[in-house]
Amino acid sequence: MSQPYLRIQGLTKRFGASAAVRDVDLDVKQGEMLVLLGPSGCGKTTTLRMVAGFVEASEGRILLEGGDLTGLPPYRREMGMVFQSYALFPHMTVAGNVTFGLRMRKLPRPEIEARLAETLEMVKLTAMAERYPRQLSGGQQQRVALARALAIRPKVLLLDEPLSNLDANLRQQVAREIRGLQRAAGLTALMVTHDQDEAMMMADRLVLMNEGAVQQVGTQEELYERPANPFVARFIGHSNLVAGELAEGARLALPGGGAVRLAGHYAAGGPCTLAIRPERARLCGPEDPAARVTAVVEDATYVGAHVEVLLALPDGTRVILHDPTDGGAARRMAAGERAGIAWDASSERLFDASGAPLAARAAVPA
């Protein structure tokens, strides 16, 4: 692994007594797309704005290629940013917008012309060079914003919710375009989004944040398969969380009565949280020996690829399971029916009271 290109160390931002960002450490490799993901107010945008230099850090450092950027004003950071609102200059043409950064750098005119042509070609807007932003569609404005940031050949490309103002059907296409350009140019990029699908689609690695702190950093697969805590498990892929008391190594007693027969065997005991993904568990008969817990069906909705089944566990905890559809042959569950829920040890995630994942010692035969 090469040394980090962009390094964020202990970055903290306090507004009065409360901290919007707490002690964030991140390493971004050269040419990598790192996506900051999290619910609104989690500090991801503040982090990005500190990297861009619009928000002053209360503590911590931002290093680029080993040099400290922390105290530098935005205009000396050599970072190209794409804003959520696009923030195009309304009084300049597309060409004026795209060349603004080049003119600020006082590049020679032929060089500016060449880069303008090259950048517009990249985003397929050559024909629009003399138009004003208000004469363009949302998607075109977005591409101008991207071209403007790319034209300066930034050391880091910053993307603040770049897709949120686009129509749903345009989003995937633009996401792929941005990703293609970023890869082709070998650009290091930092993107912020609240949309899990967007993040999954664009990222080399993801950073999941909540309440100002980093919850987990990793690839899509790492976050999905090995969530670091219950928050990650629920945010990425909507795991069902079931709280209980771990006893006898493989039995999770539910607080309101009843118990779950765990697939793994755990050394620890005490209060625990079980995470089960809707698509990683299956329904079976209530008396089926594979059933790890029995539940009552409350609702079943056919959504195409699967039937979304809402069930209540013995203590009242509600869980959602995805029951695969198979051409309409399978019997549909009905509300009020009793059912068993089964899963394999590989699908089971258990977290202790502090939220740390517990490792199963050995699978207990079902």
């Binding site: 230099g53 804003f83 923030a87 195009l88 200059f89 603004f100 600020m104 300066i152």
Partner: protein, 283 residues
């Protein structure tokens, strides 16, 4: 039965709507009439032949327009008015634009007080401001023996008091509606703060600045009550010279003067309109 009742109800509703529509159109027509009548009447009277304004006139003539030249006072007064208004407008932009930026963009101690202070001249009657400035200037003249009454300096500074609030109001309204991230984008692309101001913020404020220029100019040009205290013989603004003329003579000449003044201002506005679309700014 119920169907018939419903349809008659609908008919009544329809009648009410058209009645309301007629009322609205009537009010609009009345408004336009009220605004247009003074100008139309002035234009009409300026063409009367008689030296005394009587109705109906014995005939029509354009000779009053030619006679304006016999009263160079009006020409001088128009010159003074244009000069004072232009200087007051420039001055109020120089004060008002930075003040608006500070009021909208920065949170500093005394911001609320400054805001009230800058807008307060609008709430004080012009006569009171004029009299106060007159007393101050006279006291200063006595103390320093520098002649001040009737000087451009005093007139322009006094006019700043009534033009600056307009500039600030219009520019603040304009600034509040601007997306700050556009300025951040400029900084991100390598523009220093002053470059951001010059290349991005001010161009984006253009509509507000043009509107402010217009209002400042008009407010200054037409002011009588405050200016009345600060003029001197030979240093009179046009509205005041018209007032003075009316004190001992009422003939169509004043109407001709007012029409000439209106045409001069309209000409200036048309000239301005070539560079900025005023219609877009006012609406």
């Amino acid at each position: 039965m119920t169907g018939a009742a419903r349809s008659s109800e609908r008919g009544a509703a329809h009648a009410r709507v058209s009645l309301a529509g007629m009322l609205v159109w009537g009010l609009i027509a009345l408004g336009v009439l009220v605004m247009a009548v003074p100008l139309a009447m002035t234009a009409y009277i300026s063409l009367f032949r008689d030296a005394v304004v009587i109705f109906p006139p014995s005939g029509y003539a354009t000779s009053w327009y030619a006679r304006i030249l016999e009263f160079p006072r009006f020409g001088e007064a128009l010159g003074t008015s244009l000069r004072i208004s232009a200087l007051a407008t420039l001055g109020s932009l120089a004060v008002g634009i930075p003040a608006s930026l500070a009021l909208v963009r920065y949170n500093f101690v005394g911001r609320g007080v400054l805001n009230v202070l800058l807008l307060s001249p609008l709430t004080v009657p012009g006569v009171v401001i004029g009299l106060s400035i007159y007393v101050l200037v006279v006291e200063t003249e006595i103390a320093t023996e520098v002649p001040l009454i009737g000087s451009d300096l005093v007139l322009v500074v006094a006019h700043l008091l009534i033009t600056v609030p307009w500039v600030i109001r219009l520019c603040v309204a304009n600034l509040v509606g601007l997306d700050r991230s556009v300025e951040e984008a400029a900084a991100n692309l390598g523009a220093r703060p002053l470059t951001v101001l010059w290349r991005v913020t001010l161009p984006m404020m253009r509509q507000g600045i043009v509107a402010a220029t217009l209002f400042a100019f008009i407010v200054s040009f037409e002011n009588i009550e405050m200016t009345l205290f600060l003029i001197a013989p030979g240093q009179t603004t046009l509205p005041i010279s018209v007032l003075q003329y009316l004190e001992y003579r009422v003939d169509p000449l004043v109407a001709a003067v007012v029409m000439t003044q209106t045409l001069v201002i309209a000409g200036l506005l048309l000239l301005l309109d070539r560079y900025v679309k005023l219609s877009r700014i006012v609406s």
